[in-house]
Structures are given as structure tokens and as C-alpha cells.
Symmetry: C2
Subunit: 451 residues, 2 copies
């Protein structure tokens, strides 16, 4: 009987040092690599974007190849909610991409091959990405760039060991039913380490996760799908009841969406420079000209989403009968494939609530914002996918809480960390923000040990 | 620690007799009840259906309330498959209905409350149905019928024990993304047994499953979602690899569907009496006038799908290292919510292949049809949902096989029965035909013991 994968992963999480990578040299490596790979993005008029066009009448933004993604309008009807109707732009990217991390044991410790990657929307240049982060258009060569390194490990897993493989959603407020395949594949063969790539233990990744804007969203979501052995076991609710809670919410919540013209959005301003909400809040759709050095192609234009304000994404956590639990929120977003996903306790941009009715103010937000330092277990600003979102930053928080076992609202429930790990083997239970927080929760073990 | 639910369910499966219900009297009860509850269906022109109309130009069939379901056209593009393009009618029923079985222990043995129910499409009158079988329009009263008995156990589970609760797909060849909530709820309270309802042990239901056209589709799918303890444990493939196989198929298979006018279907004949394929194969869309006695309302009209020919739905099964496995097929159907579901080894109407290219002939069909009696473990004709399908009958078979561990085609894999049980806690892994066969597989234990 081979050693369980979760036990080997735990050994990697406990390893804060590695013969291959010295974290003390991380900043030098990042800085040096950042000098040869740099991406700059400059805002340009929508009509000036090469290879993109605005569809006549609707103004929808499309790539001339018909591939990549489209930005169109969405009319949302959410009867019974605090904001029952709204219009918004949304990104439609039907292709399932691959987010893959390659794993290999060195000296008996699994290491993760990560890439220092520049994306046009990253607030600070490079971030640490999965080994592979590629849309299907990328890796099948629609954009005529260089081949995606290491992608064959994930396209044909037959000679390797699959550690995790699950399609997960991304931001349901900005993407219409986007899914990426989150994969972790282990090899025992020789792996050439290309420039810009490096092996890390999981413990080292956990340490880096507590630094602002270093570990990117794609790396966080793949990390959350790793096997994880939680001790002690047990949970407040039986898993059958948790599944029934999710099923009930999905069966009974109505959210209707209708595709409409991007230029036809009500309460949005449409100019040559983009689409913005009349309130000045939420987000803009903009066009950018990207100049890249050391990347697949030298430069390109593309639409991006630029959110306003820094978000707050938080888990309230507590122990129940000695077992760590997090307070999850059954949340509806218009772009989810299946109505409801489990979200962090709090997930919002506080500034936006100035324009919304008081009933829309998120539950538990005030408790998170008022928490003293003794109750804040994790507090790091991390950014969202820099290939589609321009400077989309969120403050990720984990806050010790004394919210009771019955949180007093049917859309909120305490789930054990082990239950979250089990749900993460399957698609569309946890949203991308909750997955990031799961990775952060697990990182607390490493940071605690090194403190 | 309470006794695990799966162990209590197993006790019910082992109980072939019950103080509440004597199977010897089953036929008398069914016959007597059938005299007071009868449904007859007569074919009428589409335009003659009361409360239904054909949309101008498209000819799509709609109910005047806007509820229930719609029949429209679908153009399917499945590049790389043996039949890369086709048109067909499809039923669009976006509401999530409830299929629920109420459970209660008598003398320490869980019993299941089943209903003798008449549906217009049933080939032989009554069939045994779940306690509740209701669309949302049904139980919220859109059709102005009587209230649905027992539905409150499933609409508010807070004072009961949820045994299973999972949304599952139905026929992806005939329904566009239909899902029903499959629920099993246990109560300890007093339950009044209404006329037409009766308590059965699971063992008794298993015995009835081997009789033609008795246990209906809705009962079979709910039974398949029950907890089930499989011994011995073990499986040919790790579950991580099974999940990766499904994810890969879902990520890489392309099936594009486009809604088109029902009257605009290519290769279909459109007459006053319905829509039929030019070949005379596949299925017709027809209108029926239903006369019901003892049902919610006295009569109504509705469209139905009438398939041609009796289908063959079969599991090849074998033991691998002493553990029972079934050969599953990763199958694409145009109406699936998520591209691919696991289907029986064989699922087809053999007659239809006269009109299709030889490459489309289903793998393993010939092995199933040629199997001698010594290899046939289960062989019963069961029908599909009689509320939408008119005389849709399939021969369900379980056949002992010596197909090797590597079945020689990437779309087929041996899964252990225990793996199927675990997948059935989650939505959309097993299609409705495979779920029926899982219920049949489990019934073999009961029939073996009583032989």
C-alpha cells in the first residue's frame, strides 16, 4: 500500500526549506526575472484595439478570430433579493482552460513547479503562477504564440499520477459560466526547469501567500484542490445535510439572466473609452494596449474589467468541538453555471453599498471590519486574475469569531475544513474566493510553525 | 454514535417480508386500486390541445400559463462523432421538480412509502412511484389541482432526517437540461397512509423491480441515490483517476446546441398530428387527450414524446479482485447540463442504427444481445417517465462479462459499485439509465437471497 497522497502533501506543507529553492533568495530571483519579463498596459479607446471589434448595433466586444472571449451585456432578474433587477457587462469565455501545477518529489518531499509570470492586469508586475495557465486557444495555438511549456503533462496524464483534477468556476459577477480545469499532476521523470520557473515546497508557497500580491489567483485555486488531511475529524452538520442545504438553495433560488447588447445596458455610460456604471461604482470595461517583453508575443490589445475599490473577502472561523470550522455563505451570482455556490462569509467591495439599499449591506461585514488584531489570523491583499482584470485587489481576511452554531440566517452555515476539502474534489461547490481562503487557511499551519 | 444510515438501509434491503405489506397481496391491491384510478390517453391533433398553443412561425408547443414545459427544436453539432450534425425536437422544462420517498422505521426496519400512480404514458396503467413526484408547477398549484400529498416533508426538512438529496438529470436525448431533486426523507412522526399509498421494505421494492413495468423511473432514480454499503471495498481505478477521466471528457468534448424552430427541423416531417423523423425511426412528438379518474384533475391535454422501438439498456459487470464492477460509458447527450455523464455500457434502440452509419453502432451491443441465459443476471422491461413519454420501454439487462480490465476504448471504464454509490451523492455524474441499473444491481442481492 503506497503512502496516501494527502500524507505526502502534508510533508511538503511542513517543509519550509528546500535544497532546490532558498526563500531568502526569492526577492532577488523575482526582481531579476522581472527585469527581463515585463508587461505594461496602457488604456486605449475600445475602437483602437487591434484584432478586436465592436459588433454593430450591440457594441459587444469580440476578437476577430472568434476565439478568446466576448464582452456582452447581461440583464439579471433576481426576484426576492435586495436588488431584484440590474444590468451589467459580463465576459463570456466558453472554453475550458487548464490551470495546472506539476509536482515532483525531491529528497522525499513533493515540490511544486511555479512560474514567475507577468500579466497585464497585475498591480505589481510578476506574480507566482501555476506551471501552466492556459486557455484552450493558448495551448492549441490560435494566437500563434510559442507553445505553452509543460502543457503536455496535463493534456495526457496517462504516464503520470493525477493528484487533483476538477473544473471550477471563476468570478460569477464578471464571467458568464467560465470554468477552468484545476489540475495537479505528479511526475517521476526528469523535468527541465525553464527560465522563470522554480520548484517550491507547499510550505514555502504557504509562506509566500502571506505576502501581498505574490501568489496569483490561479495558483491559489489549484492549491485549494489539493488533498488535505484534516485532524481531528468531525463536523457540526452531517455532510448529507450540507449537500441538501446546497441543493435546496439551488432548487429554490431563481436568478434569470438574459443576454443583451453591451451598449443597451441600463444605468451604464457608454463612451469611446469604455463602459462605466452611472454611479461611478462597481467596475469599468476598458481597452488596453499591452507591451510584453519575454512573453509569448511582443504586444497585443484586449478588453479588461477594471473594478473600483479594494474588496473585502473574509472567513469567520471558530472551533466547534475542537474542529476548525468556517462560516460559508450560499451565494447567488449571475455567472454561475448552477445558481448558487458556497462563498466566503463576507465577499464585497464596501464602497459599492453606498449606492445600494441598506438591506443589501452584507451580513458580518461590520464584524470583520471591526475585528481587533488579536482576532485576525490572516490579512493579506491578493489580486485576481491579471489576464482579464485590471488591478482587481481584495483584502483576504481570516477572523476568529464567536458567531453561534446557528448563525441566524438560512444562507449561512458552519462547515468543517475537512468538509470543504471533500467538496473541493467536485465542481462548483466552492466559489473562487472561498477557494483562495481555503488555501490561506491551510497556510496558517505553516506560518504558525515558522513564527 | 447512531447506527449508520447505510446499515439501516441494508437491513431494509434484507427484509423481504413486512408486517405492513404482504407482497402476495400486491397484485390484488394494484388491480383494485387500478379500477378506481385509471388514465387513458388518446392521440389528438396538436392544434386541438386545450391550453396549449403552437407559437406562430416556429410551431413550438407551449402551455398558455407559460409554465410546465415547452417543446422546441434543437440543432446539434457534435464534431468528431459518428453523427456530427442533426436536428431534433426537445422538451424544455426548466423547473426543478421533487421526486421524494418518505421513509419511516417499523419494528426497526426502514419502510418506504410508495404510491400506485397512473400516468398517461404508462404502457400498462399503474406503476409504483415515489411518495411525491411533482413539478414545481404541480406543488405550487399552477394547474389548480388538489394539493400534492406529503410534499411538505420534502419542502421543509428541518424536523426530519435527510437520507439523500441530490439533483439529477433525466433523458438528455429528450429533455434540455432537465433536473429533478431526488430526495429521501425519514420521519419518526405519525404518517397517515392515504388511499393508493403503501409502505414497502427496500427488499420488497427490489423484488418488484424484477417484474415488467411495475417500479417506475422516478422510483428507480430515487432508490439509486440511497446510501449503500458495498463489501468488499476496493476498485480498479483510484477515484481521483475516475474524476479526472470525467473531467477530461467534459473539458475536451465539444457539443454545440442551438435552439431552432420546431417546424424548422431538417429531416423531420411536420403534420397536424405531430412531428416525426423522415426515416420513421427515433421518436415522434404527439398530442394526447388524457382522461383521468381519481387523479388531481379529471382530464387534460398535453404533448408527449413517443419513441419507436424498445431500447436496450445494459451493464456489463464482472468482479475485479473480488469486487463487483460495472463497465460505464462516458456519454454525450445534447440535453445534459454538463456535456458528458456516465451511462450504461449499452444504451440504444437497436432499430435506429439501420439509418445511421456503421461507425455509430454501439460498442458491446452485440455482446449483450448474444449473451446466454447463464450470463444474464437481470432482464426486465421497465418504462420511462409516463408523464412525458408515451410507451417508452426499455429492456434493462445486467450481463456477466469477461471484457478485460482495459476495455480498449477511452470512453469506457470499469467502476466499482461502491464508486458509483459515492458519485451518486453528487449531481450529474450518472445518467438516468445508469441510475436505474444501479437500483437493479442492488436488487440482485434480494432476489438471490429469495431464490
Amino acid at each position: 500500500m503506497a503512502e496516501p497522497t494527502a500524507a505526502r502533501i502534508a510533508r511538503s506543507a511542513a517543509a519550509l526549506e528546500s535544497p532546490l529553492t532558498d526563500l531568502a533568495g526569492f526577492d532577488d530571483w523575482f526582481a531579476e526575472h522581472g527585469r527581463s519579463i515585463r508587461t505594461t498596459a496602457e488604456r486605449i479607446p475600445l475602437a483602437a484595439m487591434e484584432n478586436w471589434y465592436q459588433t454593430p448595433v450591440t457594441g459587444d466586444l469580440r476578437h476577430r478570430s472568434g476565439k478568446f472571449f466576448t464582452v456582452h451585456g447581461l440583464r439579471v432578474h433576481s426576484p426576492g433579493s435586495a436588488v431584484p433587477w440590474w444590468d451589467q457587462p459580463i465576459i463570456d469565455q466558453p472554453e475550458v482552460g487548464i490551470l495546472g501545477i506539476l509536482v515532483k518529489e525531491f529528497d522525499g518531499v513533493p515540490h511544486f513547479l511555479m512560474q514567475a509570470k507577468a500579466e497585464p492586469g497585475n498591480p505589481g508586475g510578476l506574480q507566482l503562477s501555476p506551471t501552466v495557465q492556459a486557455t484552450r486557444s493558448n495551448y492549441t495555438g490560435v494566437h500563434r504564440g510559442k507553445p505553452v511549456p509543460y502543457v503536455d503533462y496535463f493534456r495526457d496524464t496517462s504516464r503520470h499520477r493525477v493528484v487533483a483534477d476538477v473544473r471550477q468556476s471563476e468570478q460569477g459577477a464578471w464571467f458568464y459560466r467560465k470554468r477552468n480545469r484545476n489540475m495537479v499532476v505528479e511526475t517521476t521523470g526528469e523535468v527541465e526547469v525553464l527560465e522563470g520557473f522554480r520548484w517550491f515546497t507547499l510550505g514555502q508557497l504557504h509562506l509566500l501567500l502571506s505576502r501581498h500580491d505574490i501568489v496569483n489567483m490561479d495558483a491559489r485555486t489549484v492549491m485549494s484542490c489539493l488533498p488535505h488531511a484534516s485532524r481531528p475529524e468531525g463536523s457540526l452538520h452531517r455532510t448529507t445535510d450540507v449537500l441538501s442545504w446546497i441543493n435546496g438553495a439551488r432548487s429554490l433560488t431563481t436568478i434569470d439572466t438574459e443576454r443583451i447588447a453591451l451598449r443597451g445596458l441600463d444605468e451604464w455610460r457608454h463612451t469611446d473609452m469604455g463602459h462605466s456604471h452611472e454611479s461611478g461604482g462597481f467596475f469599468d470595461v476598458i481597452g488596453v494596449s499591452v507591451t510584453a517583453r519575454g512573453r509569448e508575443v511582443g504586444g497585443w490589445h484586449q478588453p479588461m474589467i477594471e473594478p473600483h475599490g479594494t474588496g473585502v473577502i473574509a472567513f469567520l472561523v471558530r472551533e466547534i468541538d475542537g474542529v476548525p470550522h468556517a462560516l460559508l455563505h450560499a451565494r447567488t451570482e449571475p455567472g454561475y453555471a448552477d445558481v448558487v455556490e458556497l462563498a466566503p462569509t463576507v465577499q464585497c467591495v464596501p464602497e459599492n453599498y453606498a449606492w445600494l439599499p441598506p438591506a443589501a449591506r452584507p451580513r458580518h461585514l461590520d464584524e470583520v471590519l471591526a475585528a481587533g488584531p488579536d482576532r485576525i489570523l490572516f490579512d493579506t491583499v491578493l489580486s485576481e486574475e491579471g489576464g482579464r482584470f485590471f488591478h482587481a485587489r481584495n483584502r483576504y481576511l481570516i477572523v476568529d469569531s464567536d458567531v453561534p452554531e446557528d448563525p441566524g440566517h438560512p444562507d449561512f452555515r458552519w462547515l468543517s475544513m475537512d468538509q470543504l476539502t471533500r467538496l473541493l474534489r467536485h465542481s462548483h461547490y466552492l466559489n473562487v474566493q472561498a477557494r483562495s481562503l481555503v488555501a490561506c487557511m491551510r497556510s496558517l499551519e505553516a506560518t504558525r510553525d515558522s513564527a
